[in-house]
């Protein structure tokens, strides 16, 4: 049997969950033995295989139209979609902006920031993705496995990946389940 293919991508997050993935150290070799690590933001291949992968991992919440495209593409090409980390699972830190009006957030970020000179301007190029309310991944596409944590521990990610690589659905409980 061919090794299961795993791909990943990141959305509105801080990349910390991918850093936590790397934090599993030499155990990543074990994962590579069990599975075929394909496109990820930290490897050369950037888009999941058109022919499809077995597991697609998404880090980060969904905060604009581009994130929606990436999430939908991952859903189309993956048998199992994993939401990795609090932003993907709940919306996380980026979702704090949902408590404010979007225009207000953009003005604060691009015009009123202390480091901005008098020329501050909200980017308005039509090619830029359209900002939306921050959503958890499961609000946009179906999610099969949720792995909360900010970030999830390397141990948790190792457990999740090794279970998936061996064709099992990981069950997070006790020490493996935390949201912080």
């Amino acid at each position: 049997m061919a090794k299961p293919k795993i791909a990943s991508d990141w959305l509105a997050g801080c990349s910390g969950c991918h850093m936590s993935l790397l934090d599993m150290d030499e155990r990543i070799i074990k994962i590579a033995e069990l599975a075929d690590l394909r496109a990820t933001p930290i490897t050369d291949l950037k888009e999941p295989d058109e022919s499809g992968v077995d597991v697609g991992i998404l880090e980060g919440g969904i905060n604009n139209s581009y994130n929606v495209e990436v999430a939908e593409r991952m859903r189309e090409r993956s048998k199992i979609v994993v939401a990795l980390g609090d932003c993907a699972v709940f919306g996380g830190v980026p979702a704090m902006r949902n408590f404010f009006d979007l225009d207000e957030v953009m003005r604060r970020g691009y015009v009123e920031t202390e480091s901005t000179d008098s020329e501050g301007k909200v980017p308005d190029d039509p090619e830029l993705a359209k900002m939306t309310r921050v959503r958890a991944v499961h609000e946009v596409v179906r999610v099969d496995v949720s792995v909360p944590g900010c970030p999830p521990d390397a141990d948790v990610i190792f457990y999740v990946l090794s279970e998936l690589a061996q064709g099992r659905i990981p069950v997070l409980k006790d020490n493996l389940l935390h949201w912080h």
Partner: protein, 654 residues
């Protein structure tokens, strides 16, 4: 007792308890968020749902009383699904994002409940409506966004503390915790006891000082007693790496059962005083660092001759007070001639105990407070009284000045200064008359001629007090330091005991007369005879065992011209800057020793923090001086000596 079956197991449990408590007794865990062992059942969170045979729907086990042959299931698929749904609804109500919450990581009961149910995501997304954060209170922050509407804080504020500051306004998702009628917490009637923070299951009420300084798993707990006053409340002192993090009430403590006041919870952490870190000796007009040996020898030399006086704080341990009284001439405590002294003199004359503890307050139907300000002193005793007022308990205050409790009194008598004796004996005469005439009309002017002009109290008011006392079945009389200010304080106290006999508060062996006295060890100080007036002429050498107490202005002035002053203290004060020799000693959290509370209960204070280098305990500092004075003290005698003088209240476990 009734027989019930929970999850197939048979239990015999007391009648009248809830299914939740019955399950807990049987060691069966039912998750809950709004329940708290010290609070009345509320049924607000719906987490404790159970199935009961014969009942159509699931029931909240916290509000369902057990009945005989009840068959209960706590762990079916339907229940687990319902619990998950309850959690889903709670999470969707407000902002419960964990990564930026102070209690996340073990201290949040909501997060822990979600972990138990194995929730990996929120099926319904959160409500992104921002709710207000109220940071107006000096000691804590109220964040509505984290609130789960369990109302533990509201129940604690009313049922345990009796303050009723907290309440809820609006309905459904608009429900919000409010102080009073919606004023900022810092401007409300809140008395800063902090019980609401201690019972809050989430991060809605956050202690400012300890925020982000350590989770439950990272701190050390020290179960000890508060040294703030003579009640001796049990507290739990939380430290991390020898740093003071927070103080909580100890739910298991027999006296206060978890309730403490701001003096116990917050004020010790407010201490801004500059710590004294080395012995100091005055040389060429200025205090200079010195060795312990040199400082102690200097003090011993001055104190050895008879021309000396010594005064100690009642915050010192019993062991230290005993050492102190044995080694110095003219020794007394800083509560010289205070109310504890009057109470001790009364016991000397009566040759028997005549006071009791606070337990009678819990069952009293009337409380008479005489010269006792239980708002500014002994506040926890005030909570005990106030929380029972909604049950119809009558409250009468007699004092020369009003306090916050007199506002809630059925009758508050504000008498002329110096008229305690007329008032108390007047009330006693009226109660006697009322008993004689069997409730017929009593003419105040006939029984007490000229009463109103002497005391300033109208006949109608004094008669209503007498009526309340006459009809009370379980009256309790509490007297306080307001009496001590009177020249005839002992006579007033005798009149009060007489009134106790007349109205039934004192009945043979049983007495419901309470005196809360003063500082942590004021009873012990009085028992050792350290209650005499402090007298020193300017020729005398004076030793002050101040500890971490704050010196009164009167004492500072009295010692201004003394020929020699030595002080052992924790913090720099006007007294230490004036002293000739200063010894650095422990603070309350570093103290290990015994304390005798106002009701004669002997308790141990344990050390929560290690002392800085070169600082000694009060007892060790005194021992070092005694050794150099050539005085031998038999330390083992302190217990025996404690009960040598007749105590005003029965001294229990000595």
């Amino acid at each position: 007792m009734v027989n019930i079956t929970i999850d197939g197991k048979q239990f015999e449990v007391p009648d009248g308890i809830s299914v939740l408590r019955a399950a807990q007794l049987g060691g069966i865990d039912i998750p809950t968020l709004c329940d708290h062992p010290q609070l009345s059942p509320y049924g607000g969170c719906r987490m404790c749902l159970v199935e009961v045979e014969g009942m159509r729907t699931m029931q909240t086990s916290c509000t369902l009383p057990v009945s005989n042959n009840m068959v209960i299931r706590t762990n079916t698929a339907a229940i687990n699904e319902a619990r998950k749904f309850v959690l889903t609804m709670i999470f969707s109500e407000r902002n419960h994002f964990c990564p930026f919450c102070v209690v996340s990581g073990g201290d949040c009961e909501l997060q822990n409940a979600a972990y138990v149910e194995g929730m990996t995501y929120w099926p319904i997304q959160p409500n992104f409506k921002p709710y207000e954060v109220d940071a107006s209170h000096p000691y804590f922050i109220m964040d509505q966004n984290r609130c789960i509407l369990c109302r533990r804080c509201v129940r604690a504020c009313g049922e345990l503390v009796g303050i009723f500051t907290l309440g809820f306004e609006e309905r459904g998702a608009e429900s919000r915790l409010v102080a009073d009628l919606g004023v900022p917490m810092g401007e409300s009637t809140c008395v800063s006891c902090g019980t609401c923070i201690q019972v809050c299951p989430t991060g809605a009420l956050i202690d400012r000082n300890s925020a982000y300084r350590g989770l439950e798993t990272q701190v050390d707990h020290h179960k000890t007693i508060c040294l703030g006053c003579s009640i001796g409340c049990g507290v739990d002192v939380l430290t991390r790496d020898n740093n003071l993090i927070r103080i909580e009430g100890n739910w298991e403590a027999p006296i206060n059962k978890g309730v403490i006041c701001k003096v116990g919870r917050f004020m010790p952490l407010d201490q801004q005083g500059e710590r004294i870190k080395s012995p100091l000796i005055r040389r060429d007009g200025a205090l200079q660092p010195a060795s312990w040996d040199e400082a102690v020898k200097t003090i011993a030399l001055k104190m050895k001759n008879g021309n000396s006086a010594a005064i100690a704080s009642t915050r010192l341990s019993v062991e230290a007070l005993y050492q102190f009284k044995e080694m110095f001439h003219n020794a007394t405590s800083m509560e010289e001639n205070g109310i504890a002294s009057i109470s001790a003199k009364m016991a000397d004359e009566a040759k028997a105990a005549f006071e009791s503890d606070l337990s009678a307050v819990q069952t009293a139907d009337m409380v008479l407070m005489v010269g006792a300000d239980l708002v500014n002193n002994h506040e926890v005793a005030g909570f005990f009284i106030k929380r029972n007022l909604p049950n119809g308990v009558k409250l009468v205050t007699i004092d020369t000045e009003a306090n916050d409790l007199s506002f809630f009194a059925d009758t508050a008598l504000s008498i002329k200064p110096g008229s305690f004796l007329e008032t108390i004996s007047g009330v006693a005469s009226l109660v006697r008359d009322l008993k004689k005439t069997q409730d017929a009309e009593v003419d105040v002017e006939k029984t007490l001629p000229g009463f109103e002009s002497k005391t300033g109290i109208p006949a109608q008011s004094i008669l209503s007090v007498a009526n309340l006392l006459q009809s009370a079945k379980r009256p309790v009389i509490i007297y306080g330091k307001g009496l001590a200010a009177n020249a005839d304080a002992l006579a007033v106290l005798k009149a009060l005991v007489d009134l106790g006999h007349v109205c039934g508060a004192v009945n043979g062996e049983k007495s419901n007369l309470v005196c809360l006295k003063g500082g942590a060890n004021s009873l012990a100080a009085a028992q050792y005879g350290l209650d005499k007036a402090f007298a020193s002429d300017n020729q005398q050498a004076v030793f002050v065992a101040l500890g971490d107490d704050t010196p009164r202005q009167a004492l500072i002035q009295q010692l201004e011209k003394a020929s020699f002053v030595a002080v052992q203290a924790s913090y720099v004060s006007q007294l230490t800057t004036r002293a000739d020799v200063v010894l650095p000693v422990e603070t309350w959290s570093e103290t290990e020793g015994s304390y005798l509370n106002f009701a004669g209960r002997l308790q141990k204070a344990v050390r929560s923090q290690q002392m800085p280098e070169n600082v000694k305990s009060n007892l060790d500092a005194l021992k070092a001086i005694a050794e150099n004075m050539g005085v031998k003290v038999d330390a083992g005698n302190w217990k025996k000596e404690l009960v040598k003088r007749t105590a005003p209240v029965s001294v229990g476990n000595v």
